[in-house]
Amino acid sequence: MALLEVDHLSVTYTPRDQPANRAVHDVSFHISEGEFVGLLGESGCGKSTLGNAVLRLLSPPARITGGRVTFDGVDLTTADEEKLRELRWVDLSTVFQSSMNSLNPVIRVHAQFADTFAAHKVPGDVTERATELLELVALDRRVLRAYPHELSGGMKQRVALALALALRPKLVLLDEPTTGLDVVVQRGILTRLAELRRELGFAVLFISHDLGTVLEMADRVMVMYGGEIVEDRRAADMLREPRHPYSRGLLGSYADPRLPDVRVSYIPGRPPDLSRPHTGCLFAARCPHVEDACRTTHPDLLPDRHGLVRCLVAQSDRLPVVTLGSADAATTLGSHFPATGTLDRPADAAEAAPVLTVTGVSKRYTTRRGLRTSSVEAVRDVSFALRPGVVTALVGQSGSGKSTLARIVTAVERPTSGEVRFTGDDGTDVRVDRLRGAALRDYRRHVQMVFQDPFSALNPTRTVAYALSRPLANFAGLRGAAARERAAQLLESVGLAPAGQFLDKLPHQLSGGQRQRVVTARALAPDPRVLIADEPISMLDVSIRAEILELLGDLVRDRRLAMLYITHDLLSARLLADEVLVLNQGVLVERGPTREVIGAARDEYTRLLLDSIPNPFAKAAAG
């Protein structure tokens, strides 16, 4: 008998003000003792809801509307509070995504361990046991005396992990345990997790949107889409031959940046609205292999080649066959989706005169804390140039000074020393670091930004037309109908056509990708020479990242923009950038043409970044 059995589980959200939303629909799966199962899916697909349902932690308005969850023979859906309490943590523990909030902020780490032991009447010395547990996750015992806010995100997540293992559970549910953490830290924690699992032998349900990580870690992978499991298969098999078009699409958005030829694909469209009734396959609208039957018949999850798949086309074996195991798996995998590859570099790019030159820029932040002052050097003696038609990627982990540089370049902040020069089309030369007032506004006509978070970059109360009209009014003097017409053109130029559908929409009516396109359109409105893109895809779902990258790449080429592309993600840098600057603790440690830097990194730090990228294909290649 399996350790965890989920049987036809459905969860529905019934908020008062909105129609009911069936977040999880008729989900069945099981996990055996010691098994590491990954649960993959985009945001909103119901994976976290499923996780909470398994833990019976759903809070209103979500509730289980059908099915059962059996753990070790106990029906969790009907178990009484006390029974459940005894079982929790002893057998079934969890680590939440938000490491920021999962520890009680007002009590020390020690007390949180003590609470846990006390709740389950674990005898013995709390400090001793807790220290052991912390050692498991490579933390010093001093952490016990700390309050959560005194720990870094990574440390907190390690504490959460140690806490999850405190009672040696049979199953640990990890819900996006490393999301939001820095790549390098993320890598460290996952590595430790894998080691611990080998040592302790607990089963894991690993919920994540990060396909690379899941495929690398898991024995078996389940892919969720629209509240349903669409594919359930051993990780190795999944890598070799994913059988659901959606799984294929997801896998296609991954690639190893170190390969000579990198190509990724994306899934156009957006996930279904689960508050509306659907007939047929939920993925049909986005599926490249869709057939007529898909639109009318809802497929079941049926056995298919050592796994389960919910696809009529696959089940009737009409899916194009891919056999993989090779290093360029992704290329083939995603071939049925629109793909994006390395940009063709314009021949004259390197020779073009720079529009923006950064010379010897340093930035020191002085913070005053009480009577003492301390200063941090965020950026140290950085020089580079941006040229028209060239994408320069600025790569580094969080805290490396990337964003500070972006702020300096856009004249939001002034450097402590060094200079930033902008050369206009007409040959005018501006010292950016000394701008103020009208000259600053004038400069911004030429230098625009694409923001990281498309949800925060658009005012929720203003329509798309308004957002676009502002730069048009301020920089181009366009108003009224003229501005609207130009706004429509801009929308179409970023692929939002027909523009009339979008102009009067509010941000929340758009998908993340659409928003990011609007943000991009707004940045293009003043017809700038330089575009600063600060992690423009990191908040987007994996399946559509490539789509935005492609858009940015096209814009740079068509409009001969100079672009500074800021990212922690080397794959996207590899896809988009012509040259790469690697920033570590404020210092440029490596620079050069993208292919050279990524393909043959010289600097240790660059290699560390590269190693931190999850690489399922490596495993597939190895296995």
Binding site: P60, E81, R85, W89, L103, V106, A119, Y147, H149, A160
Partner: protein
């Protein structure tokens, strides 16, 4: 270190506010029209009697006139305040302001202090209970009931109490802090008398007192019970009560505790409305009287006293918050 900075900042704010309050205090009476001596005489005469200019003159001499220009007066005033010398009350001449405050303060502190503490304890417990049983019948009864009670204007409530329990039923005395027959002091007769007199005002304060704490506690706790760390505590199999207390109430109570500290500081000002309705010999009534009779020295001192009370309480609340909530020590609030 951050905590030091935090406390230094709070302390500077404390000093700044204190100075502002003292200065305001100095200025307000000086910006007023009218002559306190005339005010006193016309109050003595009543509105339907002509006032005697000779009497006004004598009282003007009695009260004295300040020396020097405004700045000198200000310096003198600051000096006197620093020495705790608030001068002589106009209404209670020749008794000093300090003497009068000394008389009124214990009444207010005991009545309001005790009811505040009870209100806080009761309110916090009820709020916790309501949040613990969120969306249950208990919750609705507590929430809606306290909302309605809380909106009752409490001076009106006090009037009704007097009407019903003192006038109609004659269970309790109608007014005052004690009767005419007992003599203030530590004797049983007086204490029981004072207790009897305090019942109605205390009831008036206790009906509306806990409401703020109930709502505050409930909302804070509902919020903290929704936090991830609480959910994780549930997942960790902690007993429900333990979760509610350590993970819900422990955090939810923080703002309430500081609110309570501030409320305790506010005690010094008394409760003008309730003390007026019950003619209770506390600070609130004294303030109202000093204001209506233009007793500047008394009014200034009470106002200053009240402000200092609130300020000190605020300062202590900040310190307390820093002590109770480890997060504050790192991150500046406000």
């Amino acid at each position: 270190m951050a905590p030091v900075a935090y406390f230094v900042r709070r302390f500077l704010f404390f000093l700044g506010t204190l100075w502002a309050a003292v200065t305001l205090n100095f200025l307000i009476p000086r910006l007023q029209p009218g002559d306190p001596a005339e005010a006193i005489v016309s109050r003595l005469a009543g509105q339907s009697e002509s006032i005697d200019p000779a009497q006004v003159q004598a009282i003007r001499v009695m009260l004295g006139t300040p020396d020097g220009n405004l700045f000198d007066q200000y310096v003198q005033y600051l000096g006197a305040v620093l020495h705790g010398d608030f001068g002589i009350s106009y209404t209670y001449f020749p008794y000093s302001v300090t003497h009068m405050i000394g008389q009124a303060l214990p009444w207010t502190v005991i009545l309001v202090g005790v009811t505040q503490i009870i209100s806080f304890v009761v309110g916090t417990l009820l709020g916790t209970w309501a949040a613990y049983r969120r969306n249950s019948r208990v919750d609705s009864v507590i929430t809606l009931g306290s909302t309605f009670l809380g909106t009752l204007p409490f001076f009106w409530l006090a009037l009704l109490l007097v009407y019903v329990f003192a006038i109609t039923l004659r269970w309790f005395p109608e007014r005052g802090g004690y009767g005419g027959g007992s003599s203030p002091g530590w004797n049983w007769l007086f204490i029981s008398d004072a207790f009897q007199h305090s019942v109605l005002p205390a009831v008036a304060l206790l009906i509306t007192g806990p409401i703020g704490w109930i709502i505050g506690m409930r909302n804070n706790m509902v919020q903290s019970l929704g936090e991830d760390h609480t959910r994780l505590a549930v997942a960790r199999g902690l007993p429900r009560r333990r979760v509610a207390i350590t993970y819900g109430a422990r955090i939810a109570i923080l703002p309430n505790v500081t609110g309570f500290a501030i409320a305790l500081g506010g005690i010094l000002g008394g409760t003008v409305l309730v003390e007026t309705v019950f003619n209770y010999p506390g600070m609130g009534r004294l303030l109202l009287e000093s204001v209506s009779s233009r007793d500047y020295p008394l009014m200034q001192a009470i106002f200053l006293f009240t402000t200092i009370g609130v300020l000190v309480a605020n300062f202590l609340a900040d310190l307390l918050y820093g002590f109770l909530d480890p997060r504050v020590r790192k991150v500046e609030s406000v």
